[in-house]
């Protein structure tokens, strides 16, 4: 009963940002993390340039962003590395509102959640908010082997093209122009592995997320060139990336959302992106 009343109050508080930020109105989750002194943050495992391990060290844009968020509300960041499930709904269940099937507790907040109305409606136990970046798919070509990275898809027939297995870049390359590039697609376990293939000897071109391409260019600008024009018939126009909290932690979500906005405005978030070679793009208006 008490819990219900507190939640109702928190929801009312959520309507006015100041009240939620103040955290006085029975803000269960925000009070709890502040009392605990730590903010547990779920990030995807093996997800360069967002969150991955270099040796023992966990690094990446989402990791630094998480640390920044935690310290902005005077908390210590703790990371939970998430193995992705079949879809983001499974990830929200494991990392945000229920915990894993073998009993691992969920995190306070999950990074890198697509901000999409349909996704939010289908996953009402999580609150998705705080868009901090605009992602989309892009292409890069090996400078030595591809004369024109701006050419139309049929021009790439016969050239090995790299993509992450079971991703939109994979489906795109396998189906564009009636599937004529299908036997040229080389599959890799991750986007960065596909970018590395095009920077090395294995592939002539790669389609991956824009962040993966730009991050890959950081170390391979002499070998890779990014396509400037759009990819014809690309299946996704791009999406906003944000955070998610559990439905009873809306006050925490609101607080983090306002912190994110402040960190974008003062340039601290764009500076993180820059360090990883990724051009900061603000989320598109809905």
């Amino acid at each position: 009963m008490l819990l219900d009343r507190r939640r109702a109050l928190a929801l009312i508080g959520g309507g006015t940002a100041m009240l939620a930020v103040g955290g006085r109105a029975g803000a269960a989750s925000l009070d709890k993390v502040i009392a605990r002194g730590t903010l547990s943050i779920a990030v995807y495992r093996d997800f360069e340039p967002w969150s991955w391990r270099e040796g023992d060290r966990l690094r990446g844009i989402d990791v630094e962003l998480g640390e920044l968020l935690a310290s902005a509300i005077a908390l210590r960041a703790e990371f939970l590395e998430l193995i992705p499930g079949d879809d983001v709904a499974a990830d929200l269940r494991n990392a945000v509102w229920r915990g894993s099937v073998v009993g691992q507790a969920p995190a306070d907040v999950m990074m890198h959640v697509p901000v999409d109305r349909q996704l939010a409606l289908a996953n009402d136990r999580a609150v998705i908010l705080g868009a901090y970046y605009r992602e989309s798919f892009a292409m890069a070509c090996n400078r030595d082997r591809v004369p024109d990275c701006e050419a139309l898809p049929p021009a790439f027939k016969g050239r090995p093209l790299a993509a992450e297995i079971d991703s939109i870049p994979d489906f795109y390359l396998s189906s564009v122009s009636g599937g004529m590039l299908r036997s040229d697609v080389h599959h890799y376990p991750t986007g960065p592995a596909a970018v590395a293939a095009a920077a090395g000897q294995e592939a002539d071109g790669v389609v991956a997320t824009r962040a993966q391409i730009e991050h890959g260019l950081l170390a391979a600008r002499d070998r890779l060139v990014q396509r400037k024009g759009p990819l014809p018939m690309m299946l996704s126009p791009g999406w906003n990336v944000g955070i998610a909290v559990k439905d009873d932690s809306r006050d925490l979500g609101d607080r983090l959302e306002s912190v994110l906005a402040a960190l974008v405005a003062n340039g601290k978030i764009p500076a993180i992106f820059e360090r990883y070679g990724v051009v900061y793009r603000p989320p598109a208006e809905a």
Partner: protein, 583 residues
Amino acid sequence: MKRMTHFIALGALAVAQAGGVTTLSAQSGAGPTDADLMSSATNTGAVLTNGMGPRGQRFSPLDQINAQTVSRLVPAFAASLGGEKQRGQESQPIVYDGTIYVTGSYSRLFAFDARTGEEKWEYDARLPDGIMPCCDVVNRGAAIYGDKIIFATLDAHIVALNRNTGKVVWNKKAADYEAGYSMTAAPLIVHGKVIYGNSGGEFGIIGRVEARDVNTGELVWSRPTIEGNVGQLNGKDSTMTGKLNASWQGDQWKTGGGAPWLGGTYDPETNLLYFGTGNPAPWNSHLRPGDNLYTSSTLAIDPDTGEIKWHYQYTPHDGWDFDGVNEFIPFDATVNGKKMKLGAQANRNGFFFVLDRTNGKFVSASPFVTKTTWASGYTKAGRPIYVDSNRPGAPTTDKGASVFSAPSFLGGKNWMPMAYSQQTGWFYVPSNEWGMDIWNEPITYKKGAAYLGAGFTIKPLYPDYIGALRAVDPATGKIMWTYKNKAPLWGGVLTTGGGLVFTGTPEGYLKAFDAKTGQELWKFNTGSGVVGSPVTWEQDGEQYIAVMSGWGGAVPLWGGEVAKAVQHINQGGSLWVFKLPKS
């Protein structure tokens, strides 16, 4: 991974002799041998193998419990798996030497006293936090050999325990759970080798059937199920599976799926293993033209070398998620006046197949569910006659192109094993009547990125039932009788020389039917849904029946109209044992 070298002398055992059937005469601390496992189908004093015999017929000649006496069947005892860990109990008990061994949800193994139900020991696999089992935390059973009891875990390890103490003898990682692999099937032991298939990780993987030395856990051979990949034998590369790029384009063969996640059967007569393979990846068939061998197939494999002797593909170029993993059960019958060595499989795709088990040649395919929208039948050569308009569209087409397809991707029959009666010559198939709306879903997300998924809604075909236990005559493909059940059937079947067929229901009942007529003769409510496989054996001159109770598995994970049929079923986790009262 301490190696246990206990020698445990066991007390004298009461060995029953009954009605001309053999019972294992030398039950001792040495435990079951290869020969014992091979003859386990006729050893009524024990249940030594998953499937009650290497062929997996799930037939026992025992007849103390029969059409006349079954109405008096009562519980002898029940044993709880305890704790907060309940969920689906899909295990089949192993019974040997006064002990019942059952695996439980969350990769646990229990040893219960077969006379009292008291727990002797329990083993809890320590599962890592990151495991991602696709469809509940089930396990389907263990394998026994010598002093060991062996099972597979959700984090894709094979664990051998001392069957007297529950202590680990060896524990081997079969696959990487972080890459999405998992294991739930009961292993098969043939010629001193533990043989199993990998599961999970539908993308970026290829299926493998593997054999390990039962004493050490070391890998003996590994056979990829997708053509173009090279197998292993004794630590060296062996032969390529099929022919590179014969039915795949580009490098898709490196990640083509085909996981044989349900394990296999073995026929001592032909010396062949029969393993079914999963559907191909990626899911959208328009992205992978060709038959995509050997997905959705049965592979006949040499148990000593891992060489494929023949294959039959049930659903070439699958586009509906029709796994071919179901058990292939060897049986003999007369076809057109000729005595033949055959095998049968009831497939996800709704057809009941009979093949020549010596060479994989197609004999017949007949529907065992009322609706198969994707194909109108099979040609004489054994190719499906596709209904092209029922294939889900290319990913570039609009969401609007939704097709209604039956069976649903959960199959005319899912994992739950059927049984073959040597008495009636019929198969007893636990099937489900459901279809699905399936369409391309342009706005989905995976691993933080936009993704093109499939949207689907599973729908019952009839308002009054989904589950249908069917007797199928393999000679004609005819359905001899049907028992209809409101909720989908998800448990295995047992048939006996007493003229009976046993199976469980999600509503909680273990039920007995007349094998000839399908008339329901007995039922008992176990308190939670039954999704395990019943067994029978004889002990101290009495016939026993045992089954696991505990609702779960894949069905509760899917919502929609199916959820209405199962919403009032509670969780559990118990072994139930039945016998006739002493008069």
